[in-house]
Symmetry: C2
Subunit: 333 residues, 2 copies
């Protein structure tokens, strides 16, 4: 990457460039630990997901946080692999859960293999991530990741019970997306600071950054489900068809008159969806300007993420993290 | 329990009596940690399993090991709850996997609720168990349980690929049952010794005892699937119908002539099962005396378990663990 490209590149690409050597080490460690002597089915399933790659956003957050706090040991690589394994395991278990047919634009593991493999290989990756964190020898890191795991699992169950339920409010939504996305983002950045033995104020700031970034990220994801240009590999209205209560819908329901409320009850609670209903839902969101207000909420969270970074050392990596917070929301414009 | 009853009671009932106070503490801790403020669905699913109770065999092993090594701190209770949570989580994930309709004589969680809840609530229990072990502050305990988790998950995947495959041999079978049962038994006893800061020779002996006991236990379980009086809540021939390669079948296949082999290929590999096939399978096992030889193998493992205990202090608890090893195999007579 030349200098011109660096300044115009997307922030996660700049991070990837700045952390290239460490990311290579993370990828090597992932490949090594994914292997199973006894059960060749395991890499067969995981390779599919790990090669598809995603953006390696979570491991990059850990590496960036550790670097920012001046860490020069080897264990940020373990922790970066840990968070990617946890992420991949939750995707595998999500596949079982959502009966979704597409993930990152490719068929999901449970269509290529089956539900059994998704559950058990997910469990295997969880246990591998657990071994990796134990190797760091840091009880505090284990504590953070244990708590994040509980928040993730609790959020997933909450999402299950909140779906199709018009009583789902913004507070519940926030718990759901914290479990779905922000808890692992926050743990990813926080453990980077902890492994670097950073001052408490910095560790706390890293947690806040990850949490706010994750919330902004998920709100935008939910927004893009109702439009936008980056909704690659995902059809517009997937959440609507699955009767999920995301922020644009929650706000439209909160502002609904009697007739509108009957519409939402029919399509979300009863699941009686007919041709033209998605268009009608979009029209109601437009009437109450909930896509705009959702975007404003995401922007707020991105600002919170950026403010948290002020507690951290002035550094090119910090600038990239600032830009990343902006970028995450800019996807929704 | 009076003195007469104690001497004639089954060994796990005597253990339960001897460890009653600590078991109460374990049950209280389980009830406390099972609760979820945010997602009431969680205790709804787990109560079903945890109340059904099983024998609390694994937590008792941890408590017994800690007591035997003279532990007087509070953390053996945390570890006992940990192993029970891990056990319950694997049962929940197994329910998804096996499409089994009965567990402990009651309908499985995934018939009462659904696959989604089983996967996610299992994940929640894993994460809760993870928090409990972190609270003990022992990295060595975390290491043991992380490795056990990996062995369990790997064994489950291996079982998946080994099913319906006549090439499954005794070595693969041993790996499968180590993952399915023995790894958690071994971890349960080992962490009891570790938390008590027992000498290495005792810690190793506790691991060996749990491992051998678990293998004996699972071999007998697989044996009882083809008969015996204690197969409560499980029909004879379940494994046959699910085309699982357990020891009695593996040995019958190994000794099969051409005609017998064709039979096994049809019923196990092709899954073409007709009325009378289970009886024919039992006749072949009788001809090659594989139920007897399987029982002899289980007895060997029980002897190994008992020998391992010689490294531990002479104590009534140790006697109960000796009797437990005998009892586990006596179920199969």
């Amino acid at each position: 990457m030349g200098l011109d490209e660096i300044t115009t590149a997307k922030p996660h690409d700049r991070l990837r460039h700045a952390l290239a050597r460490e990311l290579d080490a993370v990828n090597a460690l992932i490949a090594e630990r994914m292997a199973s002597r006894h059960a060749p089915r395991i890499p067969e399933v995981t390779r599919h997901l790990v090669d598809a790659g995603g953006k390696r956003l979570r491991p990059m957050l850990t590496l960036a946080a550790a670097r920012l706090c001046g860490y020069d040991g080897p264990y940020h690589v373990h922790l970066a692999a840990t968070v990617e394994f946890i992420h991949t395991a939750t995707l595998l278990h999500d596949d079982v859960v959502d009966e979704s047919g597409q993930r990152r634009g490719r068929p999901t593991a449970n269509l290529l293999w089956d539900n059994k493999s998704s559950v058990l290989v997910g469990d295997y990756l969880f246990s591998r991530s657990f071994q990796l964190m134990v190797e760091t020898g840091s009880l505090r890191v284990l504590d953070i990741l244990a708590n994040a795991s509980a928040t993730i699992a609790e959020g997933e169950v909450l999402q299950l019970t909140a779906a199709q339920n018009l009583a789902t409010d913004e507070a519940i939504y926030q718990q759901v997306i914290r479990g779905k996305t922000a808890a692992l983002f926050a743990a990813a950045t926080e453990v980077g600071g902890v492994i670097a033995a950073a001052p408490e104020v910095q560790v706390r700031a890293l947690h806040e950054y990850g949490d706010a970034l994750g919330i902004a990220f998920q709100i935008v994801d939910d927004l893009l489900d109702y439009g936008g240009t980056e909704a690659i590999g995902k059809d517009i209205g997937d959440d609507f068809r699955e009767r999920k209560l995301t922020l644009p819908v929650i706000r439209a329901v909160a502002r609904a008159d009697a007739g509108e409320r009957a519409f939402w009850q029919r399509v979300i609670e009863k699941g009686d969806q007919r041709p033209g209903d998605l268009e009608q839902a979009l029209a109601l969101m437009a009437r109450h300007r909930t896509l705009e207000s959702t975007r404003a909420t995401a922007l707020d969270w991105a600002e919170r993420a950026k403010s948290a970074l002020s507690a951290l050392p002035d550094d090119p990596i910090r600038d990239m993290l600032v830009d990343l917070a902006d970028y995450v929301v800019a996807r929704a414009t």
